[in-house]
């Protein structure tokens, strides 16, 4: 005879437990998080991972999107890197554009953001500088086309009043890319200023007070306190601007169409025309992967350099 009141062994206890309902299973800690994440995961898989994998496959094929892709191995990459007379030209144009926008745009945004932290009406100035960001790029391009017209543009007319020559800002191959860079810097200035302003707001005022007590001037404050403490923001702005610069082509498409003489034909624009005008989807995908690889390498180098400089947060 067994003792009915004695506790059941552990296994028998769970065997007799009432099975979980569907609702309980869904709301369990094992399932619920995945359920909530599933829309985002599905979105990511459908719109990011699958296209990336598909593009990788397509880059190994010859495909005009009207017929079935034909596998050709690495020939698209081989053609682009060793045969194509235009690819490297567009690549150097891309580097020129990206480097130019960083060289001119970031110091300018930093100095202006720093100046505006010490000015009245910060919000007003931020709004003014932000306006180009919310203006349609086609409108921006048309406005600048009028301004930079060789014979009748306001810029050259102003230079003429001063007795200076009026270059072909968008029509001379030696000036066209510089003009595109300046217009892009103008468009991006407000965005970068906003990021720097956020970074500047996080720097404790006591550092400046202490430095001033020690006799530091404004230049020293900026170079010895502001710039070092802004390194995480600078890194962020540098990386995001460089990536944008390497993959950007909208302004060139509407402002110069890559001309004159291909001087503003960047790799992304070359890729766009290759894909949607020439229907060379395979080769265009290979361009995208080469560009991606380059951006990845440059970004990793930037991260490494800044980590050595003490930016551990990134």
């Amino acid at each position: 005879m067994t003792d009915q009141s004695a506790p059941l062994p552990r296994d028998e206890f769970f065997d007799d437990a009432e099975p979980l309902t569907l609702g309980q299973r869904i709301s369990s800690k094992a399932v619920a998080p995945w359920l909530f994440l599933s829309p985002m995961l599905a979105f990511g898989v459908i719109f990011f991972i699958l296209p990336i994998l598909f593009a990788a496959y397509i880059s190994l094929t010859k495909w005009n999107s009207l017929t079935s892709p034909r596998f050709i191995g690495l020939k698209n990459y081989e053609y682009l890197l060793t045969v194509d007379p235009k690819f490297w030209d567009t690549f150097w144009n891309t580097i020129y554009f990206a480097a130019g926008t960083l060289t001119i745009g970031i110091p300018l945004a930093l100095v202006l953001a720093y100046a505006f932290t010490r000015a009245y009406g910060q919000a007003f100035w931020r709004s003014i500088y932000w306006l180009p960001m919310i203006t349609n790029v086609v409108a921006v391009a048309y406005i600048w086309k009028f301004l930079l017209d060789d014979s009748f543009g306001l810029v050259n007319m102003a230079l003429g009043k001063l007795g200076l020559p009026g270059p072909g800002w968008l029509t001379d191959p030696n000036f066209a890319m510089l003009s595109v860079i300046l217009v892009f810097v103008w468009m991006q200035l407000g965005h970068n200023m906003l990021l720097f302003s956020a970074g500047l707001a996080n720097i404790d005022e006591s550092y400046y007070e202490a430095a001033r007590l020690d006799g530091a001037g404004e230049t020293q404050l900026f170079l010895r306190i502001t710039v070092p403490l802004l390194k995480p923001t600078i890194l962020f702005v540098l990386i995001t601007n460089f990536i944008t610069g390497l993959s950007y082509f909208t302004l060139m498409l509407v402002l110069t169409e890559g001309g004159p003489v291909g001087s503003t034909n960047v790799t992304a624009l070359y890729m766009y025309k290759m894909a949607f005008e020439d229907l060379r989807m395979g080769r265009a995908s290979a361009v995208a992967y080469i560009l991606f690889a380059f951006i990845l390498v440059v970004t990793l180098i930037q991260l490494r350099i800044f980590r050595r400089g003490g930016v551990e947060a990134h």
Binding site: D150, S151, V261, F276
Partner: protein, 423 residues
Amino acid sequence: MTTTSHRRTALVAALLASSALAAPAQAADKTITIATHYNQEQMAPLLACFDQYEAENPGTEIVFQQASYRDFLQTIMTARVGGTSPDIYNIYSIWAPQLADAGTLAEPPADIAEFVNANYGEGTVGAATINGTLYGIPTELSVYQLFYNKKILAEAGYDAPPATWDELAEIAAKVTKKNDQGNITVAGYTYGPSVANAVHVFYSQMFAAGVAPYSDDFRKTNFLDPEAIRIVERQGKLFADGSTSNSVTTDDFAANGAAMAIMANWQKSSMMDAFGDEFENTVGIAPIPHDGGDPGTMLYSFFWAVDSASKHPEESWALLEWLNSQRDGGLSCTGQMLNDLGALTGNLGDLEAMETDDSFTKPFVDAIESGAAKSQPNIWQASENDRILRSYIEKVWAGQMSAEDALSAADAEVTAILAEQDY
């Protein structure tokens, strides 16, 4: 009301709603979709014809889709990938080789081919023909000729347009005006930023010189022909002389900012808008300047084509024949639309019915009827090849390459692409 009855009511409502949405589709047995780059306003005469056709053919519904010229090929491509391609397209002839090679275009039945051969000029039929196979019914034609500003030339003492390129260069140099900064305010001659602004002009000049830009089988270029090199050299000289520059474009012609340009007849309506009552007194049209021999130029064409995946190919071709047949001896529906646009057509009956005797239009029509206007070659990867050619011609304009070197480089690249069609 119980939850069950709520669900039943919702289900019935949903079924009713879905059947109501499906009703129009069921009313039309056959829906034919037509895609063109013309907008709703430009299509007005054709849309009226669609209504008439629907009334005369109960059970047939015609749906119009517009896609911009720039995005048209991409739209076709995307629609086919998605399985929603239109039944009928109005396509630019140079897109046809790729589309035909991909099996996108249906071949017309024998009676339609007969209709086209009987009612359209030979050069026009050639524009809709790929490797000897006809793929559609020609529509809008664009022909290149020399536009000149009569008033600007007269001010400089010239009462007639240039007949040769040397004369053109001389007049261009004389009428060019510059500001204090040395920038052109009135150009003697102008090109433009588009591929066509350079390449179509080059092809037109080649035809005028009696040399086709490509071999008959479209496998080789004639870019290294001495005439071709001379043409590009002379273009470069206009830039070197300061008679033109990249800063002036064909658009400046309508603003009295350029004295001469080689352009197509579709500019007529914008010129009329720009010059108003002074149109006739200002805009002159002349053959492409050349060094003797018969005149020549280039025309390009659009044509109606039927998608090979169309569920209603017979009905689509029947509709197209109806749209392109003369009505009571007058203009066809397509002809009416083109006439309203100030455009030309390859349909001989429509051309006869159009009023083409004005001083602007006549030189273009003469070029079509005399056979002086040759069809733009329907080469493989035409857009890509034209862009490559433009890039090298630009280098000559900029003084970065000699005409011979530039055309040699263009020939090498283009010939390599033309060879792709054989493997």
